[in-house]
Symmetry: D2
Subunit: 147 residues, 4 copies
């Protein structure tokens, strides 16, 4: 989807503020690098404590950053004052996760209730590490903050 | 799949030793509670730093424990001296993740090369939080340790 | 999910009538064998014209009956006067589809808007052929008939 | 993936001959419109007998053409004398299937054993109807014909 119009002109600040409340992203050291209408990018610097038994970045950690990249790609197109939940996602791991990673999320279709997004995870050397397809649901009038 | 015969009588020790090398599991405080042939259970005590912007356990963290529960359910049926990689997984989030969680992995079909597994994530109050379907591939003769 | 209460006492007649309007099911010779609250079963007698290049039942045909079994399992729990659409599904093929097949759909979680269901496809000799995980969305006040 | 080199110079004839043996494709009236290295396109002219209860093309039929488009995109890159099986696929339905359809399959990653592919289904008016992510496995030395 190319450059859809955001419904909320303050979308970028809203996404960054929401990301800042994600303690799990802080735990793994992930940063929201950029957010544009329908797009978001997350950077994950390599850390030894993110790995699985063979020394690669854990597949679930790949899922965390891909999930979050999809989520903010979708959230950027939502109106202010709503909340977004992940309905489901499916991820293929294409290569072992080595070193620092980037997850690029993109909206495939923004519907009234449901949004479908996709994320690609790349390593610094350009290796395509994982690809995710995700469904999200907008909860109109529900706050993005803890209740 | 009910009580398939393990190929490796030392399967439980092998799974526990492998899980012990997963630094990402240590990071989030997950424990391998039990491992039986074709089954594995992971416990994740609640911690504030595992949450997303609304205060629920992050969907990616749900994925991490479900992924790992599937992985050791499958690994328990593998012969000694092999390695197992996650090919892909798909997870539906059924309810927000509140409090401490358990992920129960189970092998649906153990093939020669590919294994299909499933995991259910439950909260302490019995709420069904998530369900995952996963594909894994055995790498014969490849070590489960860092190369 | 065990024996949830149907909202519509006429659920079975409503499901059978809806299935009867599925021309694609007639094309492949599929029958709705049974429908109970949260459960539905589809039978697909073997036919040579349902096969792929190797002589097995086409993977997409497996998907058709699994998709439809999930759909009527979910539709049985819906109120009268609504419509249901498939949001997404994910299917693993566990064994080649040989001979006549059965798809058994079951609701995993019936939410207000979204329902998650699962289907298992079996061959006559008991072989587990495929397993599907699916998300459906209820469209309240939308007819199940052509508009 | 852009223009990978085919291992088999006769890939197009091999794919077309294999598609021609798919009786299920003939049943629904699907045609293999084009096959290039890592890409395949299937056309499905509209027919009333392909529809579900609301008059749209059945979601399982969308799955059939997307599955097959992924399959021949992958098969085009395989060596002669092998066989390819679908391990699993996941499809999101983005819009109801109206009228004649096209499914475009593309290889995302061609591995030694496993290939990951994607397909997009479009209607004639350009509507994006469905998107699929799929995993396939090569069976070296196994024929693509009935055994």
């Amino acid at each position: 989807m190319n450059a859809p119009l955001p419904q909320d002109p303050e979308y970028a600040a809203r996404c960054r503020e929401s990301f800042g409340r994600q303690k799990a992203m802080k735990l793994i050291g992930a940063r929201l690098v950029s957010v544009e209408p329908g797009h978001a990018e997350i950077a994950l610097p390599y850390r030894d404590d993110l790995t699985q038994q063979k020394g690669f970045v854990h597949g679930g950690i790949l899922g965390m950053i891909a999930d979050t990249a999809c989520g903010y790609a979708a959230f950027s197109l939502m109106p202010a004052g709503c909340s977004l939940v992940t309905v489901e996602y499916k991820m293929n791991i294409l290569s072992p996760g080595r070193g620092s990673l980037r997850a690029r999320g993109e909206v495939v279709k923004a519907g009234r209730t449901l949004t479908v997004a996709r994320a690609e995870v790349y390593a610094e050397d350009g290796t395509h590490v994982a690809t995710m397809q995700q469904t999200l649901m907008m909860l109109a009038g529900k706050t993005d903050h803890p209740e």
